[in-house]
Symmetry: C2
Subunit: 316 residues, 2 copies
DNA sequence: TTGTCGGCCCTTGGCCGACAA
DNA sequence: TTGTCGGCCAAGGGCCGACAA
C-alpha cells in the first residue's frame, strides 16, 4: 500500500556503486524495463522467491548454444527448487551492446515456517512503466544513411515537446539519455508534403553508434521530469555467441549447481544473473506466483511447469 | 623425432568441427601463434602437463576484474596441482575482436608411476613460426582515414611478392587471409618522393572492420605456400570487461574448482580455456618444464612460482 | 627511411519534397 | 499517415607528392 512508483521494486539498484558490471551510474529503472520488453518483471527486493537451479542452468546453456547433455556430478544436497529471500536487485546494461540484464542476490531460507507463504501473499503488483513512451521498429529508410528517422505522428505529439508552429518549418533540438546516461541530440523537424515529424541531424550518429539494423526497435520515454529517455530493443538475431572464451560451458554448468548447493547448505547469499531477452524461461519467480500456480493447478506458467515436472519425475 | 612442422603441436585443431567457439574452419596455427605473441607456447598434444586450479582461477578473476577474496567452499579432494594428459588443443579466435585463445582437454593421471617423469623429458621444443613475417605497430597516420598504410621497406621486400618495376608506378594487388579465413584485398604501390611502399585501396576497410587504433599492431606472414596471412595484436587496453552478464564471478570460481575436483576424482577429462593475452600467469605448463624448474630451483618461472609456493604453504 | 601534412578530386552522407502504398 | 526514392549540395574519404624528423 505504498505510493506508486516503479523504482520501489528495484530500490537496490539505486545508489549502489558499480560492482562487476562496469557502468558508473545507476541504471534508470523505467528505461531498463522498457528495453527489457513488456513481458519482463522482477520480484521486489525483500520478497520471497523460488529459485530453480536447473532452469538457471538451462538459461546459461541456451546463452552458450550448448546442449545440456553434459555428465554433471551429482549434488545430493541440492534440491530442484530453493525458497530464497531476494536481498538485492541491480540493473545492468552491457556497455557494448546495451543488452539489459539483472543481478540478483539470493539467500536460501528455511521452508518450514509457513510464514513464508503468508508473507509472500501480498500480491507484488509492480505497476511499472506508467509513464508515456513509444516504441517503433526501424524501417530500411530509418537505418539507411540516406535519410533520417520518420516519427509516427501520434508518438511525436504524445512524447516530444510541442513544436513552435509559428516557425517555417517548425523545428527544435531534442536531447535524450540512454541507459549509460549518454546524451544524444537530434534535430526534430515537421516538414515535407504531406507534413510529417522527422529526426534528421544526429540520427545517423545514433544508428551507427548503437549499430542498429532494420528490424531493431527504438524506444522513447518521457519521464516525470519531462526529460527524454532513449533505449533500444534489438531484433532476435542469432545469440551473440561470445563469452565462451573464458570458461567451458561444462564448468559453468557445474559452477551454477555447486554455487547453489553451497549456498543452500550454509544458508549463505549467492548471486545470479538474469538475462531477460536471451532466456527461454525464468528461473527466479515470486513465491506467491509459484504457490498460486501450484495450488490452483494453472498451466499459465508454461515452460517452467514442464521443467518442474520433469525434474520431479526424474529426481530422487 | 618427427619431421618439423608447427602444426604437429596442435594436430587436434585441424579437422575438428566447431564446438562452442563458433568458427567454421580450423585456425591457422602459424597465424594464431603470431597473434598470440612471441612469449606464448602451448604444450604438445599427447604430452603430460601440470595444471594449477588456483592459477586458472586467477586468470578468470583477472579477466573479470574481480578480487579473489571470495569465500569459496573447500574442495578437500582437490590438490593444488594436477598432473594431466593433454588430450586435445583447439585454437580459437573471437569472431568479434580476433582475440586468440586455446581450448585444452586435460585428463588427470596417476602420479605414482615414475614413467611420467621420463616420458615428459623429451624436450618439447616447438620450433614454431619459422616462416617469414613482419609486425608493425600502427601510427596515427596508418589508422587515420586521411591516408593508407606505410609499409616498412625491409618488410615489404621480405614478405610481399616482388613488384614489377617496369610499371610506373610499380603496383600490385595483395590478398591476405585473417584468422577467420576472410580475405582482405589491398593495393600495394611503390611511389612518392622519396619512394616508399604503401597499402592504399582496401586498407581503410581493414582498419574500420577490425576497429584498429594507433598503437595496435598488424602482422603479415608469408606461409610455405607463398600466401599472405594477416593478423592483429591489440595494444594493452583495459580488459574488455564483458562476459559478466552470464555468470557471477563467484560461480565461475566455484565452477573451475568443482570441475577440476570432479575430474580429479574420476580421472575423467575436462576442458579449460587459455587466453594468452589476458592472462597474468600460465596455469597449464609442460611437466618437463615444471620438473626442471623444481629440481634446479630456477626462479625463471616467475609468478607461477610465487603462486605455487603460496599454495604450498597455506594448503593442507 | 618513414610519419605527417596540404592539395585536390570524388564518393558518400544527409537534407529536401515528390509520390505512392 | 508514412516508407522509399531522385535531386541536390556539402562533408569527409582517400590518393598524391612535399617536406622534415
Amino acid at each position: 500500500m505504498k505510493a506508486p512508483g516503479s523504482t520501489t521494486a528495484v530500490a537496490g539498484a539505486t545508489g549502489t556503486s558499480p560492482s562487476e558490471g562496469g557502468e558508473r551510474k545507476s541504471i534508470n529503472p523505467e528505461l531498463w524495463y522498457g528495453c527489457a520488453g513488456p513481458l519482463v518483471s522482477l520480484p521486489p527486493v525483500g520478497s520471497l522467491v523460488v529459485y530453480f537451479p536447473q532452469g538457471h542452468s538451462e538459461q546459461v546453456a541456451a546463452t552458450m548454444q550448448k546442449d545440456v547433455d553434459v555428465q554433471i556430478p551429482n549434488y545430493p544436497n541440492l534440491p530442484w527448487k530453493m525458497i530464497c529471500l531476494l536481498h538485492n536487485v541491480t540493473l545492468h546494461a552491457d556497455p557494448e551492446t546495451d543488452e539489459v540484464y539483472a543481478q540478483m542476490t539470493l539467500q536460501p531460507v528455511n521452508t518450514n515456517d509457513k510464514e513464508a507463504f503468508l508473507a509472500s501473499d501480498l500480491s507484488p503488483k509492480t505497476n511499472r512503466l506508467q509513464t508515456d513512451f513509444f516504441c517503433k521498429t526501424l524501417t530500411a529508410s530509418d537505418t539507411s544513411t540516406h535519410g533520417g528517422f520518420s516519427v509516427p505522428r501520434r508518438a511525436a505529439e504524445k512524447i516530444f515537446p510541442p513544436l513552435d508552429f509559428s516557425m517555417q518549418p517548425p523545428a527544435q533540438e531534442l536531447q535524450a539519455r540512454d541507459l549509460h546516461d549518454n546524451v544524444w541530440t537530434f534535430r526534430h523537424i515537421y516538414r515535407g508534403q504531406p507534413k510529417r515529424h522527422l529526426l534528421t541531424t544526429g540520427w545517423s550518429l545514433f544508428v551507427s553508434g548503437k549499430r542498429l539494423l532494420a528490424g531493431d526497435s527504438v524506444l522513447f520515454i518521457r519521464d516525470e521530469k519531462q526529460q527524454l529517455l532513449l533505449g533500444i530493443r534489438r531484433a532476435n538475431r542469432q545469440p551473440t555467441n561470445i563469452s565462451s572464451s573464458v570458461l567451458s560451458s561444462d564448468s559453468m554448468q557445474i559452477g551454477i549447481l555447486a554455487a547453489a548447493a553451497h549456498a543452500y547448505a550454509n544458508h549463505s547469499p549467492f548471486t545470479v544473473f538474469y538475462n531477460p531477452r536471451a532466456s527461454p524461461s525464468e528461473f527466479v519467480i515470486p513465491l506467491a506466483k509459484y504457490n498460486k500456480a501450484i495450488y490452483s493447478h494453472q498451466i499459465t506458467l508454461g515452460m517452467r511447469f514442464r521443467m518442474m515436472f520433469e525434474t520431479e519425475e526424474s529426481g530422487t
